[in-house]
């Protein structure tokens, strides 16, 4: 047994002390796995190397482990501790790959470990690790579906993630685990729409198809008005149609619906065919009828791609072209068949051409078909003849032309073509049975030469059906058939029996004997169908004493006028499946296919998608404190930064900011400002745009430090220190029994839960800054303050509130435009306006102009560094972990320590975790009291400039306290 010998060798190599030998052995083993040969005996030897330092060796061991762990569950458990250790590794890549392998090991016993690892990874600082955890969710779910509830919690959490890296994977997990939990999407809907362009292409496909389903449950149909023009059956069910007609309200598209359509449109230009198809189906299922056609060009472009891509795209176009001819008609030439196309591509193109045929283009199409009939590919030629038949029935103008063309084909040299033509002509003649005796006669002449059974059967049927039109020929054909009956195919025999019966009824004088003869032959046929048929016919037509009432009606039964067959597209009912799906492609319901729901008659509550106002939790964050003294206290900090101001148009910037350079930002904001100028309103305009690098170079001195806020009553002791120190604290906390919130240890004795929310700035006085003095403003004065709440327009912006007031009597009242409303300011009146500024985490001032009807005032807003921060919830462990991480990833960390005099401090230590508003960079701050009189203040963040500024300000504040 050579393979056993080889296994022994490999085992020896694996157990050697040389890395290179081990690696060589693993490479051979992977070769074995790739060939599908079993290498499971080597498991113990391989698993020993799981902790190898050599990364390639380790990876190959992983490959092996994932492949065989299921077979060798007990041994596989040996490796688990290695992964658990790696999950804590400072290198995110190692953490991620450990999670990948751990979750790929399909051993039920480790489900709890996997669950724990997934939960931890879902809160990891690295988006790559979080992405991996989203993948792990699906793996765990397939291993143990009982974990569903817990996994949904993790999915819910990950859905809130703002990283484009995570979005695709978590939606995939959502689709796999809980596709029906549409409620989890509400809050993330707009975010997903806005992120979509920047998500990696595979994620885009998944998100788009999920959002298609979502939109079908949340918005009303945009197709109502168009309905009356199109008398064709509506896409959806009839019941819905009736409902819509009763309420004739004008349709207004939900802005969220529009948002989805708008944000997916650019993806039609994607190089990834799956993305283009996904967008196309989204438009097909969601867009108003007149907008769907924008996808046409992109779909046609896909036909240039690989053969397999063409196949799928053509299938979808075939379905679309049945309902919406107009969409593809201008591109009809793209569907012309090329001789190099594969047969299934040719057939699909033929299908589409037939669907698109109308009075105007039929002659061109028929000309094309004429070429195809001559094709070497006989199956295709036959399909073309069928297509000609379909065109003939669908377009009455060309019925005769087609019929004539088909008759011409009867003299074709190729038998398959002739046979197919006969079959199609038979169908066509049924639609207009009059005046076609000639054709029937012609076919009777051909009968001797036609050997294809289906064609022979068709001719026989025609003879029988129209025997009165060919009274002389029909009996003769029957005579010939009687001679060859026994040698014919079954289908021909059946039709012979039919013909005999019909002739017996119409012309019994000539054919009585012949019929008897054929019926006798049929009686002893080997095929039971033919025997049955013979017996039935005999009873029906031949009068004898036993025959009942039926024989009286024999003539009416056999010679009843028969409805013409309807020649329909094979793709007619494919539209019950969502386009672009596997089910659509196969025309059968695939496992796991999600039915596309009908539009709701009444749209569900739209406000569920309002994220910013209703529930600030996405942006809000909870601050977390640990201290030896009980001091639960939440802080928001306020932060600010210079640079970009963008009034309310958040979408525009958000979609741009991911990718675009400063150039494009500038353009978008400029166009915005133009619009505003026209309104002659006050406006804020962005002035500067500098590359980020320059920003830090010229950071101005921070003048004032944020306002000091009074804290809660119930920890008064703390307050004197705290509000001096954490000027940014502004929030109250309510003790709550909410287990989801972080736990606080107070005095080391009791545990209780707290929840903090960033709420409005109702607590404590906010420091207000002067923006425009009433003297310089010619009576108009403006002040601003930072409300320290999440910005409504975009999470990366700092909210700023402006107060305008008119102090003097001035003849021209001024207009103030806040978000989108115009207001006139009466003398003595004042108005408050909110705006958001994205300072990009720097304290540089945002300069802009206030425009009144006659004046322009240049003003600037400069934030204190604290205004640029938002609190962030984390547990103590997380805090330490993140802190450790920021310390480890050497280049990205700036760490500042200082000693400051805090002699009046009560607490021994406290921690504060926050994120910068714009880039969501983590800022960790900890204060530790040392034994000596000083305290150690540590700030960990990637933003080194910010850290130093924060440090300086805090020192100052502490010194004052």
């Amino acid at each position: 047994m050579p393979s056993v010998l080889r296994n022994e060798d490999l085992k020896e190599m694996l157990e050697s002390s040389k890395e290179s030998l081990k690696l060589e052995a693993m490479k051979r083993i992977v070769g074995l796995i790739a060939k599908g040969k079993s290498a499971s005996e080597l498991f113990p030897a391989v698993v020993k190397n799981v902790a190898s330092k050599n990364i390639e060796l380790k990876k190959l061991v992983y490959v092996y482990l994932v492949r065989y762990a299921e077979e060798q569950q007990d041994l596989a458990l040996l490796s688990i501790s290695t992964f658990q250790r790696a999950l804590k590794d400072p290198n995110q890549f190692i953490r991620a790959s450990a999670l990948r392998v751990l979750s790929s090991i399909r051993v039920p016993i480790i489900v709890p470990i996997m669950m724990l690892a997934i939960k931890e990874a879902a809160a990891d600082l690295s988006p790559y690790v979080r992405k991996t955890s989203a993948h792990a969710i699906q793996k765990l779910y397939s291993l143990d579906p009982d974990q569903k509830e817990q996994l949904i919690e993790v999915i819910e959490k990950l859905l809130k993630d703002k990283s484009t890296l995570v979005a695709g994977s978590v939606v995939m997990a959502f689709e796999e685990v809980c596709p029906d939990r549409i409620d989890l999407i509400h809050k993330n809907y707009r975010k997903l729409c806005n992120l979509l362009v920047d998500v990696e292409e595979w994620g885009q496909v998944v998100i788009i198809s999920m959002l298609t389903r979502y939109a079908r449950t949340q918005f009303t149909s945009p197709w109502m008005e168009v309905r009356f023009d199109e008398n064709k059956a509506f896409y959806d069910s009839d019941s819905e149609e009736k409902k819509d007609q009763t309420e004739a309200k004008p349709y207004v598209m939900d802005p969220d619906h529009r948002l989805l359509l708008r944000n997916t449109k650019p993806l039609l230009q994607s190089r990834n065919t799956a993305v283009v198809m996904a967008v196309a189906q989204l438009y097909w299922h969601l867009a108003p009828k007149h907008e769907v056609s924008i996808v046409t060009k992109s779909l046609v472009r896909l036909l240039r791609s690989h053969r397999e891509v063409q196949y799928i795209v053509l299938q979808n176009i075939a379905t679309m072209s049945i309902q919406r001819k107009g969409m593809f008609e201008p591109f009809i030439k793209s569907f012309y068949v090329r001789s190099t196309d594969a047969t299934h591509i040719k057939t699909l193109k033929l299908e589409i051409l037939t669907n698109l045929a109308n009075e105007a283009n039929i002659s061109t199409i028929l000309r094309e078909f004429q070429t195809y009939v001559k094709s070497q590919d006989k199956a295709f030629a036959a399909a073309t003849i069928q297509a000609i038949g379909r065109c003939a029935t669908n377009i009455s103008e060309v019925t005769d032309t087609c019929l004539n063309g088909l008759v011409l084909l009867l003299s074709n040299r190729d038998e398959a073509v002739v046979a197919e033509s006969i079959v199609v002509i038979k169908k066509l003649l049924q639609t207009q049975p009059t005046q076609h005796g000639d054709i029937i006669k012609h076919m009777a002449k051909l009968f001797d030469n036609v050997t294809v059974p289906m064609a022979r059967a068709s001719i026989l049927w025609l003879m029988g059906e129209y025997c009165e039109k060919v009274p002389k020929i029909a009996p003769d054909v029957l005579r010939k058939m009687a001679k060859t009956f026994t040698a014919e195919e079954d289908i021909v025999k059946l039709q012979t029996v039919n013909l005999a019966a019909k002739l017996y009824l119409t012309n019994s004088k000539q054919t009585k004997l012949l019929t008897q003869y054929i019926l006798n032959l049929g009686k002893y046929d080997q095929n039971y169908d033919i025997r049955d048929r013979t017996r039935f016919i005999r009873q029906l037509i031949v009068p004898n004493e036993k025959s009942g009432a039926l024989s009286k009606y024999a003539r009416r039964i056999l010679l009843a006028p028969k409805p013409a067959p309807v020649l329909e597209s094979a793709f007619k009912d494919r539209d019950r499946y969502q386009l672009g799906t596997l089910s659509h492609s196969l025309n059968l319901k695939a496992t796991g296919y999600q039915e596309l729901p009908d539009w709701p008659a009444v749209a569900p509550d739209q406000s569920v998608r309002n994220v910013e106002i209703v529930e600030p939790q996405r942006i809000k964050a909870d601050l977390f404190w640990v201290s030896n003294v009980h001091c639960p206290c939440v802080c928001t900090e306020s932060g600010s930064e210079s640079e970009e101001e963008s009034s309310e148009d958040s979408e525009k910037t958000s979609s741009d900011s991911g990718k675009s350079s400063s150039g494009s930002e500038k353009s978008s904001s400029e166009s915005e400002s133009d619009q505003k100028k026209k309104k002659k309103t006050k406006k804020a305009q962005q002035k500067k745009n500098k590359p980020a690098a320059d920003r830090y170079a010229e950071i101005p001195a921070v003048s004032g430090f944020g306002s000091f806020l009074p804290k809660l009553e119930f920890i008064t002791i703390m307050i004197s220190f705290f509000y001096d120190f954490f000027f940014f604290c502004q929030h109250c906390l309510f003790p709550q029994n909410d287990s989801k919130n972080p736990t606080f240890r107070t005095s080391g004795i009791s545990l209780f839960h707290m929840s903090f929310q960033v709420t409005t700035s109702s607590f404590g006085p906010l420091k207000t800054y002067e923006l425009l003095h009433h003297m310089t403003g010619k009576g108009l004065s403006a002040k601003y303050h930072f409300p320290r709440q999440p910005c409504l327009y975009q999470p990366s912006m700092v909210a700023v509130q402006l107060f305008f007031s008119q102090t003097k009597q001035i003849s021209h009242p001024k207009c103030v435009s806040g978000s989108d409303n115009k207001k006139r300011l009466e003398p003595g009146a004042s108005v408050t306006v909110s705006m958001g500024i994205d300072f990009s985490d720097s304290t540089q001032a945002a300069n802009f102009q206030l425009c009144t009807k006659e004046d322009q005032f240049s003003v600037s807003i400069q934030p204190a560094v604290g205004e640029l921060l938002m609190p962030s919830t984390m547990t103590e462990q997380d805090f330490c972990k993140e802190q450790g991480e920021l310390l480890c990833d050497s280049n990205s960390v700036s760490r500042n320590e200082t000693r400051c005099l805090t002699h009046r401090m009560f607490l021994l230590s406290c921690r504060f975790g926050g994120r910068t508003v714009s880039s969501r960079a983590l800022v960790l701050l900890s204060l530790e009291l040392s034994e000596s009189s000083g305290a150690l203040l540590t700030i960990n963040t990637e933003k080194s400039v910010m850290a130093s500024m924060l440090l300086r300000d805090l020192k100052q504040a502490l010194a004052q306290a």
């Binding site: 990876k59 296919y593 675009s660």
Partner: protein
Amino acid sequence: MIHSLFLINASGDIFLEKHWKSVVSRSVCDYFFEAQERATEPENVPPVIPTPHHYLISVLRHHIYFVAVIQSEVPPLFVIEFLHRVVDTFQDYFGVCTEAAIKDNVVVVYELLEEMLDNGFPLATESNILKELIKPPTILRTMVNTITGSTNVGEQLPTGQLSVVPWRRTGVKYTNNEAYFDVVEEIDAIIDKSGSTITAEIQGVIDACVKLTGMPDLTLSFMNPRLLDDVSFHPCVRFKRWEAERILSFIPPDGNFRLLSYHVSSQNLVAIPVYVKHNITFREGSSQGRFDLTLGPKQTMGKAVESVLVSSQLPRGVLNANLNPSQGTYTFDPVTKLLTWDVGKINPQKLPSLKGTMSLQAGASKPDENPTINIQFKIQQMAISGLKVNRLDMYGEKYKPFKGIKYMTKAGKFQAGLPDKWTLEYIKTELLHKEIRIN
């Protein structure tokens, strides 16, 4: 999503298998083999095949079937696109994607497949990211690795994976900074016997080779961007900027990549660079046929038409051809009946022609097919659609790069000589004759 992958060669052997979830027995491929048997040509195997428990989605490239096993609903294009991406990656790594190359590099293939999919969902498909994770095998590196014991596998998370520009790695350095763009257009056309165009379309691509230090931000503008109304972009291109200003603005990937591909459809006026006059006649009862073919340039803006190759599948009845080319050489394969004529460059003063006789099988009836004529050619320094790059600017870096742009036009599926029009009148008169004869 993707459960397993099987690679099957032309002779029907499964030579590689990879599973991302639990193992699927290779017997599932029997359904594929069945379908393969039913299909007459290798290309005719349907891309999607249902089996009782799985679905097989396959692509055929380089005579290898890549068969993915799917267990539940997934957009089929998703899988097809991914499989093609796998093939492209193999080609990128090994130069060719053949059975031998895959077998020789089975470990790298496995490592790649492991990184490209996690649990059946694509993880890293950008070539820049993959190359940081797994270095392509080269002879030099293999030697160095054997000596030093270092590996081909990266230890760090590729920088692109986390950045907003995942297609570009950081820390790129070149001593010579250069950016080359090739505008390559392929013209597909069908021309009938009388020389009028039935359809003509242009498929264009702009392939780039960018070797620039740091994080350059490029903008490429066109003289006539209106031509590009049907385009698809590399993900690096900013959609918004294109929509608003018709400028391509992008941070390029490092190395070779396809910046965009476009399609100028038959609705636009497409210039046809060459014309063909041909006359092929067979007489009833005679064993001789005449063959006469002339090529000429047309609308080439003064550029030479080069590497012209004419091929035609002559009817089965033709035994041999005795032709006389005015330039170049011709071959006729009596077995496959394929006539090829290597013309070379077209001289507008002296048009190339191929004339002569064909001998037919004795007694055979007159061949009823007009053979189609396929033409290949190249035109340097010209994009047939008229597309022209206006300028290329670079922002974000200080140095001056060397910039180059090249245009080329090639024939794609360029066919001439389809049969005459099927005019309806013709049919009607024919029918009339028939009817008379019947009566």
